[in-house]
């Protein structure tokens, strides 16, 4: 299969860019291997000695990454349990005896906020970002290790404050994850006192903590790469995380300001977002504020947030697909520019979440146009993933299964996104289960599949052992088929007009066809949720007894697999920093003895092959 590919593929076409054995005989090995000397002196690292400075208040980005990963997963499991409780109520009303409508709203709100911010964002940027960035760009650590540590502990406190809201009078806020004013702080909404204040404080802490981390990620990528590592030689994972970090640095300010103003409205009685309100015949003290302002602030954060989650997923999946189909990523530069383009465009589409908020209709026209333009770079990426797979030497292991699952799911969610991006289609579908199905597909399940693939891919690096493949396949198929059983029917529920965020359908005419479907969806949700514990079991089991992975078990090219010790130690590279000579995608190069050429392989060792100059 791969031989045939080598013969037919047009690698020779780029002969001007190719270092061939015949051409340019003048250069000796040392000439073509030349990489300019280091610009910056070696980073001086603080090595912890006690248990606390090594594992708790640790300044090693890898440990911080694992800490982020564990805490985000812990919060994610809480979000998962909340979704179970919601599905229990929706599928079998009254089955959870204690559940009132107030509880239901609180669970919806906390599930949304936890999954989007405290689980996915923290996991991708805090978890994968911390672990992979220094390793992939060839740095010893993040540039500001102390700040990085404070970043994690701010996140820790933010999660603590968030979870504390379950135990305060009135419970957590039940305003929906968008926290729209004025209802989020008016009496009658659950958690309108303590709950919403703690939510805002927690978000402010999260933003502060993230800013510290984000500065680290950006400066490490821009200013601390190793010799030979140009921006266009970075793995797409790093590009995805980098662009997402830039988005976060520019989008989180809007959330910070919105949360601060909402706290003041609540605590001091200001009226930033509060219009004149008549309640039970009485005029409240509020007046003159603008509820739409909050929506603008929230979605100026909220939409880039979608891409803060999606872009690292795009980057990671590109690397996984390339490694496991033994082919270079198709259109690397196009992929990079698509990531950057999506990132830029994501700041001009936020009001497509507000078509029914009462904006000027021309706004809807503008934002529908920008929204649909985003389909272009995203579609380019999907085509490139498929073209990377095309005639590749595919290893159909668990990692690849998750990647394929991601592509299918992402296309699915993306297409419903085109429906909802159009104002005239969106208006009747607004606030129905169609929207729920769309965003869960595109930014819930799809990035989650990438996370799962990434766990199976990088676990051998972090722990030095493979995860169990059989358990992994069970985990994949249950999750994949189960997730489709949940969200496919939801599209239909949306079409027949079942509204989202309703505690119960009561005696509405949709009931007859929706009841059976709701029961089915709930059953599937219980199974998918339970299937996730297979992964946790798998991790615990293989941590001690798994098959040892050794060095570079996937025959990958990127730097994180080329550390002297597995798992890498503090400082990553032993005595000498790696020197990079090429991009990380030289797979199946014609003429090469093995089907991969690592980034550190000097050109003089591969003059016999038809490797591209990158």
């Amino acid at each position: 299969m791969s031989d045939e590919y080598e013969n037919k593929a047009g690698y020779q076409a780029q002969s001007s860019e190719t270092i061939s054995s015949g051409g340019g005989g003048s250069g000796s090995a040392s000439d073509i291997d030349y990489v300019r000397p280091a610009e910056i002196p070696e980073q001086d690292l603080y090595h912890g000695h006690s248990f606390i400075s090594k594992w708790v208040f640790c300044q090693d980005a890898k440990v911080i990454g694992v800490q982020y990963f564990l805490l985000a997963t812990f919060t994610g499991v809480i979000g998962l349990v909340l979704s179970w409780l919601m599905r229990l109520q929706l599928g079998f009303p009254g089955a959870a005896g204690f559940m009132t409508a107030e509880h239901y709203y609180q669970f919806v709100t906390m599930h949304g906020m936890i999954m989007v911010v405290y689980f996915l964002t923290a996991l991708f940027l805090g978890g994968f970002g911390n672990y992979l960035i220094p390793l992939m760009v060839g740095a010893r650590d993040m540039v500001f290790p102390y700040l990085n540590m404070v970043s994690f502990w701010s996140f820790f406190v933010a999660v603590g404050v968030l979870l504390a809201s379950f135990f305060v009078p009135g419970g957590p806020t039940g305003a929906g994850w968008t926290l729209y004013a004025p209802q989020s702080i008016l009496e009658g909404t659950p958690g309108s006192g303590w709950g919403i204040i703690l939510m805002c404080v927690s978000l402010i802490l999260f933003v502060a903590g993230f800013t510290m981390g984000g500065l680290n990620y950006m400066i490490t990528i821009l200013q601390a790469r190793t010799r030979g590592m140009t921006l266009m030689r970075m793995p797409l994972t790093v590009w995805g995380i980098f662009t997402a970090t830039v988005l976060a640095m520019l989008a989180f300010p809007a959330l910070l300001v919105g949360a601060l103003m909402m706290t003041l409205d609540n605590v001091l009685g200001t009226s930033f977002f509060m219009p004149t309100i008549l309640k039970a015949g009485e005029v409240l003290e509020y007046g003159g504020g603008s509820p739409i302002l909050f929506q603008h602030l929230f979605w100026f954060f909220g939409h880039p947030e979608v891409y803060i989650v999606a872009l690292p997923a795009f980057g990671i999946v590109s690397d996984l697909i390339s490694v496991h189909s033994r082919k270079n990523i198709f259109g690397y530069r196009m992929m990079v520019w698509a990531i950057v383009g999506i990132g830029g465009l994501s700041f001009f589409v936020w009001a497509h979440h507000m078509y029914v908020s009462g904006m000027n209709p021309w706004f809807g026209f503008f934002f529908a146009t920008t929204t649909l333009i985003i389909a272009i770079p995203t579609a380019m990426k999907v085509y490139n993933w498929i073209l990377t797979l095309w005639r590749g030497n595919i290893r159909l292991n668990v990692v690849m299964l998750w990647c394929l699952g991601f592509i299918v799911t992402f296309v699915n969610g993306g297409i419903t996104g085109i429906f909802l991006g159009n104002v005239s289609v969106d208006v009747p579908l607004s606030d129905t289960y169609f929207v729920v199905a769309h965003f869960h597909m595109v930014m819930g399940i799809a990035p989650l599949m990438v996370i799962m693939g990434a766990i199976y891919h990088w676990f051998p690096l972090v722990a030095g052992r493979f995860l169990n493949e059989t358990l992994g396949k069970w985990h994949f198929w249950l999750t994949f088929l189960g997730a489709y059983s949940i969200y496919f029917p939801m599209h239909y529920l949306g079409f027949i007009g079942v509204p989202r965020r309703y505690f119960e359908m009561y005696d509405s005419p949709y009931m007859t066809s929706a009841v059976g479907m709701n029961e089915f969806i709930s059953m599937a949700a219980f199974i998918v949720g339970a299937a996730q514990f297979i992964l946790i079991f798998n991790i615990i089991k293989t941590l001690k007894t798994g098959k040892p992975a050794g060095h570079n078990p996937w025959q990958a090219n990127s730097l994180e697999w080329l550390t002297p010790s597995v798992p890498p130690e503090h400082g990553n590279w032993g005595d000498k920093l790696p020197i990079v000579h090429r991009w990380p995608y030289d797979f199946s190069v014609p003429g090469s003895k093995e089907d991969f050429i690592t980034q550190t392989t000097p050109p003089s060792e591969v003059v016999e092959t038809e490797v591209e100059k990158t």
């Binding site: 790469r225 300010p253 910070l256 009226s271």
Partner: protein, 236 residues
Amino acid sequence: MSDHKIEGYEFKPGFKGMAHDTGSDQTMFKGVHWGKAMMWIFLLSDTFIFSCFLISYMKGRGSTLVDWPNTSEVFGLHVFGVEVPLLLIALMTFVLITSSGTMALAVKYGYEKNRKMCGWLILATAIGGLIFVGMQAYEWSKLIHEGVRPWENPFGAPQFGSFFFMITGFHGTHVSIGVIFLFIYAYKTFAGHYDEGKKGWFTTMKGDYVEIEILGLYWHFVDLVWVFIFAFFYLW
């Protein structure tokens, strides 16, 4: 910036040079200290925070139904029997901009390794900042005394009080944090930490006069933001 040389690297002028630097390995901003790059990016993020504040203020001022108070009266000062509009704010702005000047000089003397001058100028900047915060506290107490609160305002729209206290408060917090750091840096300068390259607190990086430039960036930013707040709040 002064010309610096990097072994094996050829600088190119203009836009081409920018592209050349971007496409090169190791660093994108050649010869730029990590901390300095970090400060620039942090300030970019902070710019978005203040932009959100000011845009919210414009939106809030636009959507309230009650008249906005006449700012030149509200911020007027009664001196020697005459009403002078915007007097206090003019003084505050003058002090803050002057402190930016002393900061710039401190950076210059720092790079010349003139420890004494550098230290004194940082101290002067810190005192300028302190005077600014003091005058702001006076302005706040004057307004509070006249009955302006975050939730109400005897002169007109209650949003005036809300936005005024929130935005100037947020800016004042920035100035106060800057003042604290200025005092710390003044101490470190006088103690010679930057001459000896002594390691700082909570970091393994060696002390260098570039840190004064980094703090200077922050201070100039706070000053620049004030100009916008001044224009939007007091002159509009």
